[in-house]
Structure formats: C-alpha cells, structure tokens
C-alpha cells in the first residue's frame, strides 16, 4: 500500500466497499482475459501433444541448450569488452585534458544515438560485400560492445561524479596524487554506488543478443525459429516461443532481481558517501532498461 498512499487517503468504509467491488470486477476481467487467450490456444490446437512432443527429445533439448550457449557466449564476450570500453572512455571523459575529453565525448554520444541493429549491420553487411570472412558472432559482439560500452561509460562517469567533492578535496589535502585520488578514494566508493546500474545494463545487453537472430547468428531465438518451423510437429511456433520466452525471462529476471537486491543493500550500507545510482524503479532510470 505504500505506493498508493501518495494518491489516496486510508480508505473509509465506503471506499473499502468500492475498492472491494472494483477488486472483484477487475479480477473477473483479468481471469476472463486469460481464459480467452487459453481458449484461443486450445481452439487452434496449441495444447496438442504433437506440438509439444519434440521437447522430450534429447536432440531438441540439446539444440535449445546450444542456442542458449551461443546467446550466453555472445553476451559474455560483449559484456567483458563493453566494460573495458566503458572504463576507457569514462576515464577519458573525466580527464582534465580537452584533447582526451572531446573525442571521448564524441564517440560516446555517437554510439548511443545510432540504433544498435545498424551498428551490427556495419559488421555484417560490409564484410559480406567484400567477401572478408568475419564470424557473425563478432559482428554481434562488436555492435553490442560499442553501444553498451558507451552507455556504461556514462554510468561510470555518473558514478564517479556522484561521490561528493569533499572526498576529492580531502584526499588532495592529505597529499595524494590525481591517480591515487581516483584509485583509492573515488573508485571504491563509486563502484558500490553504480553496481546496480551496471547489472541492469548487462540485462539490456543480454536481451539485445537476440538481435543476432536478424543476422542469422544461431542464438536462442534463431534456434527457436528452426524448432518452431517443423512441419511434422504441426509448426509448433507458439509452444517453442513460449519456452524460449520462459528461458529469457528466467535469466534476465534473475539478473534484474540481483540488481534490485544490490540497490536495496547498497542503499542501507554507509560505506559510501555517494548516492546509489538506481538500477530501476526510480525516476529517470525507469527508462534505462529499454
């Protein structure tokens, strides 16, 4: 009820009755919606054993696992590269030399404004035309690295800037060098504050590996299309995509939950003077996970 308390007073007897009626009506409405979808599924034979049969086969399960493996591989490589890319460009943007700052700003702003799919196409169509052999994995990974690396660079920069200036002043006052201030004072505090935001950006990266489907990189979604398109099993697209969606939701949901938990935990801890950059559920950051 805490979130509703802004708009509504504690309900009195009449409001309680009205809310109860609305509650029953909306429950009925939601159940009707679910029932309609279930009916539509049953009506078109989505629950037939034939459409689900192949998921019992070890070979099909191996296919799905292979797809998941390809997804996780692309996400893993891209995550490491994006973190390095982000750290590099964030430190360049935080530099007090303009000739480091401006090119880094240009790169970060540019890659954040280009649609990710177009970045991936640069690595896919250009080599394709000239007959250079480039793995589709790398076309995907480089696109993911450039985009998510740029977003991470902004998160890192915001994290460092969120440490109160007094910390820097204090460190300089006791005779630390610039390098020491960053390494010993700012980074340890900033990492705590930006960890939730980093984890939720990695969820975005993991979700975006599904774009590999479009350049026919054999990730989970692509494997799903192949399994769903099998005629002997009655073109089981619906069951297959439900299973694929469940896998994505389970993995991304677990990571999102981790980000949320980190945020709660960091919010309590007093080891950093910096304000925690929220992972989700707060103001402007609701927009970040898109």
């Amino acid at each position: 009820m805490s979130q509703a308390s802004i708009l509504y007073d504690l309900p009195g007897p009449r409001a309680k009755r009205r809310n109860a009626i609305l509650g029953v009506a909306s429950t009925v409405g939601i159940i009707a919606l679910i029932a309609f979808i279930g009916y539509k599924f049953a009506d078109t034979g989505q629950f037939e054993a034939r459409k689900w049969e192949q998921f019992q086969y070890a070979s099909v399960q191996r296919e799905l696992l292979g797809g998941l493996g390809a997804t996780l591989k692309a996400a893993g490589i891209a995550a490491v590269l994006a973190l390095i890319f982000g750290a590099f460009f964030a430190s360049a943007r935080l530099s007090d030399k303009w000739y480091l700052r401006s090119p880094a700003t240009f790169v970060v702003e540019l890659f954040r404004a280009i649609p990710l799919l177009i970045l991936i196409f640069f690595g896919y169509y250009v080599p394709l035309q000239y007959g250079w052999s480039i793995d589709k994995l790398w076309a995907l990974v480089i696109g993911l690295m450039l985009y998510n690396g740029s977003v991470l660079a902004e998160i890192f920069r915001a994290g460092i800037n969120a440490v109160p200036y007094g910390q820097t002043e204090g460190a300089y006052a006791i005779g630390m060098r610039k390098n020491q201030v960053l390494r010993l004072i700012l980074l340890p505090q900033a990492v705590r504050s930006m960890l939730p935001a980093i984890v939720s950006q990695l969820v975005v990266l993991l979700k975006d590996t599904a774009l590999g489907f479009i350049i026919t990189y054999p990730e989970l979604l692509f494997v799903g299309k192949q399994i769903g398109g099998r005629l002997p099993f009655g073109l089981p697209y619906v069951p297959t995509y439900l299973i694929v969606a469940a896998i994505y939701i389970a993995i991304c949901g677990a990571l999102s939950a981790l980000a949320w938990w980190l945020q709660k935990r960091m919010g309590r801890s007093r080891r950093t003077a910096a304000k925690v950059l929220p992972a989700q559920n707060a103001g402007e950051d609701a927009a970040r996970m898109i």
């Binding site: 979130q3 509703a4 308390s5 802004i6 708009l7 509504y8 007073d9 309900p11 409001a15 609305l22 509650g23 909306s26 939601i30 539509k40 009506d43 078109t44 404004a113 280009i114 649609p115 990710l116 799919l117 177009i118 196409f121 640069f122 169509y125 250009v126 394709l128 035309q129 969820v203 979700k207 975006d208 590996t209 599904a210 774009l211 489907f213 479009i214 979604l221 799903g224 299309k225 769903g228 073109l235 697209y237 619906v238 297959t240 995509y241 694929v244 969606a245 994505y248 939701i249 991304c252 949901g253 999102s256 103001g283 402007e284 950051d285 609701a286 927009a287 970040r288 996970m289 898109i290």
Partner: protein, 218 residues
Amino acid sequence: MGEFFRVLTDNGQLFVDGFTNAVKLFLIAAVGSLVLGTLLGAMRVSPVPALRAFGATYVNLVRNTPLTLVFAFLVFAVPKLDVNIEYFSSAAVALTVYTSAFVCEVIRSGVNTVAAGQAEAARALGMTFGQVLTLIVLPQALRAMVPPMMSVFIAMLKNTTIAAGFSVLEAGAIPAYMAERGEPQFAVLLWITIGFLILILPLVALQRFLERKWRVAR
C-alpha cells in the same frame, strides 16, 4: 566522395520510403504505447490489489523479454492462433506491447516522486480526488516524467529498425535491398546512420534541456 553521394541520389526513393515508414511506425507505436502504458501505470498506482498485481506482472514479464522475441512471436506464432495481421501492424503491436511496459514504469515512478505531504495537504484543504490529482500531483509528476519519457521514445525510434528483420520495409531494411543492387554497403550504412542522427540528436538535445531546466525548478 562522389561515389558516396551517388549512393544516396541513385537510391533516393528507397531511403525516403525507409525513413517514412520508420517515422510512421514510430508515431503509431508512440500513441499506442502512451495509451496502454498510461493505463498500466494507472493500474500500478490504483488502490485495487488485483490491478496492481496485473500491472506489475506485465511489466516484469515484458521488461525481461527481448524486443526481437516479441516481434518473432507476433510474426510467426500469432498467425498460428488464427489471428492474421499484416507485417506492418505486427511491428506496431510489438513495439507498443514492449514500450508500454517502460512508459508504465516512468509514470509510476513519476507519481512516486511527488512527496506524500503534498497530497495530504491538498486533502486537508478539502480537495476531492480529482482536484488532488489534476491540481497538485500531476503538475509536479509531469515535470519528473517528461525527460525519462523522452528517453523511452528515443529508444523506441531506434528500436523501429528491428522491424526490418521481420519483413517491414523500414530504414533498417535498406541494407538488404542494397545488397541485391550491389551498392557499397559502408556508404549505405553511413547514410542510414546520418538519417537517424538527424532524427535523434534534436530529441536528445531537447530532452537534456528539459531535464536541466526542470531539475532546478523542482
């Protein structure tokens, strides 16, 4: 360099069609997700637990699903349910379903930024629910909502390119056509990039301006 401009002038119609469809798709999905997202946002701040749970479930499921999967479901699976819609509409529905989860979150967190004391004071003055909402809460919440809402829509404009993977002639589909015509792809992709920068950079600038202006005022 002449080659670079020739790519655009020789294939002008394709670029115009691609970007027109991208903007069309964007506008339709923007209206759709604003409506659906507001509805879901209203559910999430409503006093009815069933509606709150429904809104929360929708947001958590959709937010952890890749947009490409939503597209694939609409294009490949939904026709198997005897619902036949054309590719362009599928793309608009996919973008709407996905984006409204984020619109919903922006609205919910926008309402939550208003201090509880504001609404309490308004009620103490004897204002009705409608007055509290329209005179006190929404004017403050909107300031907090507009910048992140713009980020969501900027992201959606970029996401329209995904429709190209699902048979919609859209800006992202231009390279596939150009591959058949044998045009230099690097130039083609640079032109598409420039097109998106022209569309997106003014929006980013406006968003940052509003963010700066309204942060001080609040």
